[in-house]
């Protein structure tokens, strides 16, 4: 596969990407290296794994990390209840040594996402989401899997990967990840998209969207992200939700009133909503359309139809 092919496949999945992103994905894919993606919340890190699964025609296996996640939830667990039942049922029927041995076989093994991804005959995309939320011990445990593509189960031995999964790790940078983990991965930092890219994403994800509205929403979202008063910056998913909500309401022009009514799709805290109010009403530097840009008192002209 080359860059152009991968790019075309991603575009087929309606994923708008730049050259850097495609190159990094291809590098990770070619070298069989895990890909660590960092960036602010809502820039589309998780989406990369989903789209890669669709583009490569692979299953997506997802492991959502959280504080306290351990091997039993991530790798495997013995089906204890089934083992107890087996012991009780077969206690007098079988040779005890054979019974003990049979208790640690595939029949009693509950595969969790990590084991599932490496035992799969067909290669999968493994998404280890929000690794920064997991404990450092778990991060250390991942090292064997990521570098050797194998895991050790004490009762069974070393389980080597039947196929090499494409591993995507995402992090919101709530804590620094270890150097050892970083060294084993290819790295990508995703920023919020620029205006053109945001418009392209809206076009790709919301079919038949009003062109004029898409531009207005993208501009307004950028103004909100640029505003220092807004603490939780709107994500791409929120942009799409907003467009969908406006379309559902039959809005074709983003007036201050329409923006105010639907702002709850974009900003999710009362502080941010209060801070956005002056931008919507045209106080400060805003033009009154929600885009917040300073147009030097001449209006923005090219994309608004105030009063119409």
């Amino acid at each position: 596969m080359d860059i152009e092919t991968l790019k075309a496949k991603l575009e087929e999945e309606k994923y708008v990407c730049d050259d850097q992103l495609v190159t990094t994905l291809l590098v990770a894919l070619k070298l069989g290296r895990p890909l660590l993606i960092e960036g602010a919340a809502g820039v589309g890190k998780t989406e990369v794994a989903k789209v890669m699964a669709a583009a490569l025609d692979r299953d997506l296996v997802r492991l959502q990390c959280y504080e306290g996640l351990d091997e039993s939830k991530a790798l495997y667990e013995w089906n204890y209840q089934k083992q107890l039942l087996s012991i009780q049922v077969q206690m007098n029927r079988r040779d005890p040594d054979e019974l003990t041995k049979s208790l640690f076989s595939d029949e009693y093994l509950l595969e969790r996402p990590l084991l599932q991804s490496i035992r799969s005959e067909k290669p999968v995309v493994l998404l280890i989401d929000e690794i920064d939320k997991a404990d450092e011990e778990f991060e250390a445990f991942l090292l064997e899997l990521l570098s050797e593509m194998q895991v050790t189960i004490p009762e069974v031995g070393v389980v080597k990967a039947a196929s090499i999964p494409f591993v995507v790790l995402t992090s919101n940078r709530t804590r620094p990840l270890s150097e050892a983990l970083r060294r084993r991965c290819a790295y990508l930092y995703i920023q919020y998209p620029d205006l053109n890219k945001e418009v392209a994403i809206i076009r790709a994800k919301v079919p038949n969207v009003n062109e004029h509205l898409a531009v207005q929403v993208a501009q307004a979202i950028h103004a909100l992200r640029d505003s220092e008063a807004i603490l939780k910056k709107p994500s791409i998913a929120e942009t799409l939700d907003w467009v969908a909500a406006l379309e559902a309401l039959g809005v074709s022009d983003l007036t201050p009133e329409a923006a105010r009514q639907t702002m709850g799709f974009v900003l999710k805290s009362s502080d941010d909503l209060d801070a956005a109010a002056p931008l919507l009403t045209g106080q400060g530097n805003g033009c009154g359309c929600g885009c917040g840009h300073d147009h030097g008192g001449e209006g923005c002209g090219h994309h608004h139809h105030h009063g119409q």
């Binding site: 107890l84 450092e136 011990e137 804590r175 603490l231």
Partner: protein
């Protein structure tokens, strides 16, 4: 380009990255070589993205990578142009240095200055140089009467002025601003934050405090149990597995929150730093409710916890308390703190002093610091003056001999200090 040249170039590039502090291993270099030939990447954008993915493993490292890449992979014409530009610049600097050597003279003798300060003089703006020239001119008559006395005076004035200029230049040279404003804010001198930076800095502080909290909570979890079996929880857990004690539960160690006493200088230039430092420390959940904060300039006030809820409330509080805009008397403040009823300091407390050490009556302040040290379990001084300037400030030299002092001129240093303080 032949394969050998590829490998040599990449090895050289890896070496440059290592010199800049990036942990680039042989594996990465080998992977890059393999990749470039396999994919036949020739477009600069693609090559850059591929190299960046493998060599730079964080946002910070990407900034370093970009700089090294720009300097390393240049076209022949561009390299030639750069060489000519560098030569011209080197000649210009040599000319200015010679000029500076002529100007930095007092009574026909060169003023003894460090080489780096002479470089500061060379790159300084003309109006600043003019100020120093006029100073020499004004003192000329007196200097002829008493050359020795005025010689050391001129030297100290020049040194202080050039040090200040050096600090300004270093702040202006924080290069990450365009790439990542948050990153730049993290490493910028707190006292030089602009009004527009304050909301961003406040959000950054909250983010770092959350990050530190999460880190510390994980460290605590890793510390394990106290060694005592918790019978009740073990039996309860055993019920889930048919009465067999499959997993044993242990008692956890009781965690004591740190009790901090914060003593903050809010006189004039220290206000901004104290504001940020207080906000930072108080936003950490590790800091217990029983911790206390005191503000001082010429006198001491215990701060109302409500005043620490946000920046505006804090500023209003400081201004209405009458502490703002007055001088600094650390001796009086420490004396009042030691005599505070009920006692603020005790063997289990850590006294954190946020001050630049500039105070009236330094000997008395030093005596009172020793008394505070005797009363408190531990004293730690957070100093907003960068460590590089400490050798030139007498009060810092005195105070740093009496207690542990750490430089905290940036949010990054502040975060590192808090991490160290609370994880011990």
């Amino acid at each position: 380009m032949s394969e050998t040249v590829y490998i040599e170039k990449m090895a050289e590039f890896s070496q440059r990255l290592r010199q800049e502090g990036l942990a680039v291993g042989l594996q990465e270099t080998a992977d890059v070589c393999r990749l470039l030939s396999d994919l036949e990447l020739t477009d600069r954008v693609y090559v850059r993205a591929a190299l960046s993915a493998l060599f730079a493993k964080s946002r910070e490292e990407q900034a370093v990578f970009d700089r090294v890449f720009e300097g390393f992979f240049v076209s022949r014409e561009r390299r030639e142009a750069l060489r000519r530009q560098q030569e011209a610049e080197a000649q210009e600097i040599a000319r200015k240095r010679a000029e500076a050597e002529r100007e930095l003279q007092f009574e026909g003798q060169p003023i003894e200055l460090r080489e780096d300060l002479k470089d500061v003089y060379v790159t300084m703006e003309d109006d600043k140089k003019e100020y120093l020239r006029q100073l020499l001119e004004k003192t000329k008559v007196n200097a002829q009467r008493s050359p020795k006395l005025y010689g050391s005076f001129i030297k100290s004035v020049f040194m202080r002025f050039l040090l200040e200029q050096q600090m300004v230049m270093e702040d202006a040279a924080v290069g990450a601003e365009e790439a990542d404003p948050d990153l730049a804010l993290l490493y910028r001198d707190i006292s030089r934050f602009r009004d527009a930076d304050i909301p961003r800095a406040a959000a950054l502080i909250s983010a770092i405090a959350r990050q530190l909290d999460a880190e510390l909570s994980r460290q605590r979890q890793g510390r394990g149990h106290s060694g005592q079996l918790d019978f009740r929880r073990t039996i309860r857990k055993g019920l889930e597995t048919g009465g067999s004690f499959y997993r044993l539960a242990y008692r956890r160690k009781r965690r004591r929150r740190k009790k901090l006493v914060l003593l903050c200088d809010v006189s004039g230039s220290m206000l901004q730093f104290s504001e940020f430092a207080l906000r930072f420390i108080k936003s950490m959940s590790e800091v217990s409710e029983s911790s206390a904060a005191f503000l001082f300039s010429e006198e001491l006030r215990r701060v109302d916890p409500f005043a620490l809820q946000n920046m505006d409330a804090f500023r209003d509080y400081v201004r209405s308390s009458g502490l703002y805009g007055r001088g600094t008397d650390l001796g009086t403040a420490l004396e009042a703190l030691c005599a505070w009823k009920p006692a603020a300091l005790g063997p289990g407390t850590t006294l954190l002093i946020l001050s630049d050490t500039k105070t009236v009556d330094l000997p008395r302040a030093a005596r009172q610091l020793l008394e505070a040290k005797r009363q408190a379990g531990k004293v730690l001084w957070l100093n907003p003056i960068p460590a590089g300037k400490w050798p030139y400030v007498r009060s810092i030299q005195t105070m740093s001999m009496l207690c542990q002092m750490v430089p905290c001129s940036t949010l990054d240093e502040l975060a590192r200090t808090c991490r160290k303080l609370l994880s011990n």
